[in-house]
């Protein structure tokens, strides 16, 4: 998990970059990026936590790109995916999680 910032809302979560993978592996993935706080689940649509955020539904959260299941249709983006989003500059390497957390 690569993060941009500590969450300004809950102060305990990491705002990690997720990428939409869509729900159909045969269809090219929508490939949109967003930030998600891994603690309070706030979502930002740009790699900047000073912009507007919103919260997904607590019980049926949607991926903000494809509106499929948040956890099924998006993943924590790896370096390559982050690069493809053009968000590499936003990553704070000090917040990288070693080993677990993907």
């Amino acid at each position: 998990m690569h993060s941009v910032a500590m969450c300004p809302i809950c102060q305990a979560g990491l705002c990690g970059i997720r990428i939409c993978t869509g729900d159909d592996p045969l269809v090219p993935a929508p490939r949109g990026g967003f930030l998600l706080c891994d603690e309070c689940e706030a979502i930002w649509m740009s790699p900047d936590v000073t912009t507007a955020h919103h919260y997904p539904s607590s019980e049926s959260p949607e991926c903000p790109i494809c509106h499929g299941d948040l956890w099924g249709n998006s993943v924590w983006a790896d370096n390559q995916q982050i690069q493809s989003l053009g968000w590499s500059q936003a990553v704070n390497p000090d917040l990288d999680q070693t080993a677990t957390g993907s």
Binding site: C10, A12, C40, Y55
Partner: protein, 275 residues
């Protein structure tokens, strides 16, 4: 209290009977009476000293210092260093998943009401709604660290309610809020930033969260923020409820935490952690 003062009496009576007659024996029994008094005083003072000064004085092995039912807790949690803390199975299982059960629950599983269709929640919260002792709030089994499952009431498929009315429902990356909560019962030393860790494993966490929620409803030592349907409470519980872990906690030598942050959507727990 009673047990602590009773048992020395019994013991001295017994030793008096054994040492039948003779000044030497009388002296001996006097000495043992003094010893018993000292032990009783120690048994009474030990928890208080531990909680007040954060010491870790050992309890007496024969049960004279037993903790009264319902008085879990901050006291016990407070005396334990973060790493040495766990006597709770739940907290000892950093990798525990929904399919893993804490040891020794076979008997409990038999007890569970199989007539109810509600599924067991992740982290093996079993359905205990058949529990006839469940007067709300009294927490009949809360003195047993293994029985955090009993603390919650099943109210439908994968939905659980705490005595204070908080709801634990499916959600979060872990699949269920209780599984997310479990992350806050163990340290994650490699995690960037602070990582709040509750004392007392899952039961300790659930009880502390309930206490914080009760306080927040009365607005006592609480700050409240609302944002798009979310309510974020920060509640000072006035005593140790956990410690700060994660990389930041490690850097700060695991300071104790006495505040709890609750992130709620109405009564639904999104997340909660000590800070």
């Amino acid at each position: 209290m009673n047990s602590a003062s009773e048992s020395p009496g019994n013991q001295s009576r017994r030793s008096g009977v054994r040492g039948s007659g003779g000044g030497r024996h009388r002296g001996k029994s006097l000495a043992s009476l003094v010893l018993v008094c000292l032990l009783a005083a120690y048994a009474l003072l030990q928890p208080e000293l531990n909680s007040r000064f954060g010491w870790n004085l050992p309890g007496l092995p024969d049960g004279t210092s037993q903790v009264e039912p319902g008085s879990r807790s901050p006291d016990n949690g407070g005396v334990l260093a973060p790493r040495a803390r766990n006597n709770q199975p739940a907290a000892n299982q950093p990798t525990a998943k929904a399919t893993v059960r804490p040891d020794g629950h076979d008997a409990d599983a038999v007890e569970a009401d199989s007539g109810n269709s509600a599924k067991n929640p992740p982290g093996d919260v079993r359905n205990q709604r058949n529990n006839p002792r469940s007067d709300p709030g009294s927490g009949p089994t809360t003195s047993d660290p293994d029985r955090w499952q009993d603390y919650l009431k099943s109210i439908g498929a994968d939905r659980y309610r705490s005595p204070e009315g908080l709801l634990y429902t499916p959600g979060s990356a872990e699949g269920h809020r209780l599984e997310h909560l479990r992350r806050h019962t163990i340290d994650q030393p490699e995690r960037p930033g602070p990582h709040g860790v509750f004392d007392g494993g899952m039961l300790g966490a659930l009880q502390t969260i309930d206490s914080a929620y009760a306080k927040s409803k009365r607005g006592i030592q609480t700050t409240k923020r609302t944002d798009q349907g979310r309510t974020i409470y920060t509640v000072d519980l006035g005593h140790r409820v956990g410690f700060v872990g994660g990389r930041e906690g490690q850097r700060r030598r695991h300071p104790m935490a006495r505040r709890v942050r609750l992130v709620l959507e109405d009564a639904r727990v999104i997340t909660a952690y000590p800070l």
